[in-house]
């Protein structure tokens, strides 16, 4: 696994070797540096974005999953080789493998066949994971989170690992040792806290304003989905070319030009056409997009890092609301946007965790993640 560089601290040397930040002298009073491995072993010091990377690598049992280039939906499409299954009345999607070769080939984050010399790793090449609605892993009483299994009703349909959007985010905070809710411990949160819950300012999350700047680890949530910011530029919504407030609209804001990468567990886009496979050209019709033959099957990739703007294919109203609001904020107008929110965990920026905090998991309730041994043992950190 390549080192994760703390964006807030400078590198002491070029990042051809593991990049260990050097603390400038004014903050020499900070505790001794920890290597990435130390940080990952002591999960109480994980930042949300570090936890997201660890979770991703662990979920796929792949040292490099979190460092792969973003998953481009228009280039790769959705998972193939699965039969889409639906919850009978609310439409939540699950899937079954029907063509293993196609399923493995289309899962971007798996390395198949797995290296037989690796120790302590689970092989998912026969059960490649996808998005599964309701999937959240299983939390054991001893505080261990197993991401590779789900509750019985899901296991009966999808005999492969899978997780949904809120299951993923809740797991990230559980692994980071950070509470999502003060009224319950991590192992109980996942089954009660959907994406829309994160929209409201709560005891453990603060609302982020555009002028405060977005950071890795921030959450963007709306009624139907939640993502975590992975990488963000100084102009995430590509507004540099917008010169006045009258241009804050969809003619001038292009989601395919956003410079913002998010991690999430992504469900299917074309999920109502279970018996048909459409290509990007069929769905979206644009000449440029027509050059892509990426199939949209309705089976989502699940845990992935994607360009945020690509989500406009599935959630155009919410994505455009966020970008338009950012544009209005650029010109000093605060809009009354309410369909999509950005929040940040109160302890996300904390370099030295307090001994006690209502948003910090107690030692006895901390969650360990099954499958982590594979990463620590085999990944070059």
């Amino acid at each position: 696994m390549t080192s994760i560089v703390r964006a807030d601290l400078p590198c002491s040397y070029s990042c051809t070797s593991p990049c260990i930040p050097s603390y400038p002298s004014p903050i020499a009073s900070l505790p001794p540096l920890q290597t990435l491995r130390d940080r990952l072993l002591d999960i109480s010091t994980l930042s949300p974005s570090d936890a997201a990377d660890l979770l991703m690598n662990t979920f796929y049992q792949n040292c490099d999953a979190a460092d792969l280039p973003p998953y481009l939906l228009l280039k790769h499409g959705e998972m193939r080789g699965y039969s889409l299954k639906r919850h009978p009345w609310n439409g939540g999607s699950a899937s079954q493998v029907v063509d293993l070769t196609k399923a493995v080939e289309s899962q971007y984050y798996l390395q198949c066949p797995q290296n037989s010399k690796r120790k302590f790793c689970t092989d998912f090449c026969k059960t490649p994971p996808t998005y599964i609605w309701g999937g959240k892993g299983t939390y054991k009483k001893n505080g261990e989170l197993n991401l590779f299994t789900n509750e019985n009703s899901i296991e009966k349909i999808s005999k492969h690992p899978g997780i949904d959007c809120s299951g993923y985010i809740n797991a990230v905070f559980a692994i980071a040792g950070l509470k999502v809710r003060t009224d319950m411990k991590a192992s109980k949160v996942a089954s009660t806290t959907p994406a829309k819950w994160f929209m409201k300012e709560s005891t453990c999350f603060d609302r982020v304003k555009f002028n405060d700047g977005l950071k890795a680890g921030d959450l963007i949530s709306w009624r139907k989905h939640i993502v975590m910011i992975d990488k963000v530029s100084t102009d995430p919504f590509a507004l540099d070319s917008v010169n006045n407030i009258s241009q804050c609209n969809s003619r001038y804001i292009d989601p395919l030009k956003f410079k913002l990468i998010v991690s999430n567990s992504l469900g299917g886009i074309n999920d109502e056409n279970k018996d048909q496979i459409f290509s990007a050209a069929d769905l979206f019709g644009d000449e440029e997009i027509k050059s892509s033959t990426a199939p949209f099957t309705g089976v989502g990739i699940g845990i992935s890092k994607i360009p945020f703007g690509h989500l406009a294919m599935k959630y155009p109203v919410e994505i455009m609301e966020l970008a338009t609001s950012a544009c209005l904020a650029k010109f000093g107008k605060e809009s009354k946007w309410n369909k999509i929110h950005i929040t940040r965990h109160k302890l996300a920026d904390t370099k030295s965790m307090p001994a006690n905090h209502e948003c910090l998991e107690t030692d006895k309730d901390k969650v360990n993640i099954e499958g982590r041994k594979c990463i620590y043992t085999n990944c070059n950190m």
Partner: protein, 153 residues
Amino acid sequence: MYIHKLQYVILLLISTTVFAAPPEKCPDVNQLAQMLLKMEFHGRRSYAHNSCLKKVKSKAVVVRPEQRDEGLSKPREIKGWIKDFKLVKIEKIKKIDFPERYLVIFSYYLNKKKQFDQMEIQTFDGTIKKIAGCAAIVTPPKNLILTKECINP
């Protein structure tokens, strides 16, 4: 056999219009509101009935059921069934204080009684129009009402 092949080709052409590219110039907001309202009354928010949407064809508006309501603990309640979409009338459309958004106030007759409801819609241009069509519903009507033709879609 030739006729069967021709019928097949015609059916294929018709089915692909559901997903055809949006037009260069979108209809005006009144027409878009009408199209979106029709989707609402033809099962856009009711998974059990959303195959009724195939009765609503539009190049301008992407005819897709609302993305899955993941997290619903029970099906959405259908408040009523109207005999015909012709009983639905847009009363007023007004611009609201957010770019490209409009409030659509409409009425319909249910059990011979006139009812009012409203929804918010958004129009699109540029790249997002190519992805999402000319308009979408931002806030749906309070009540879920369907037309009787969706009972057995």
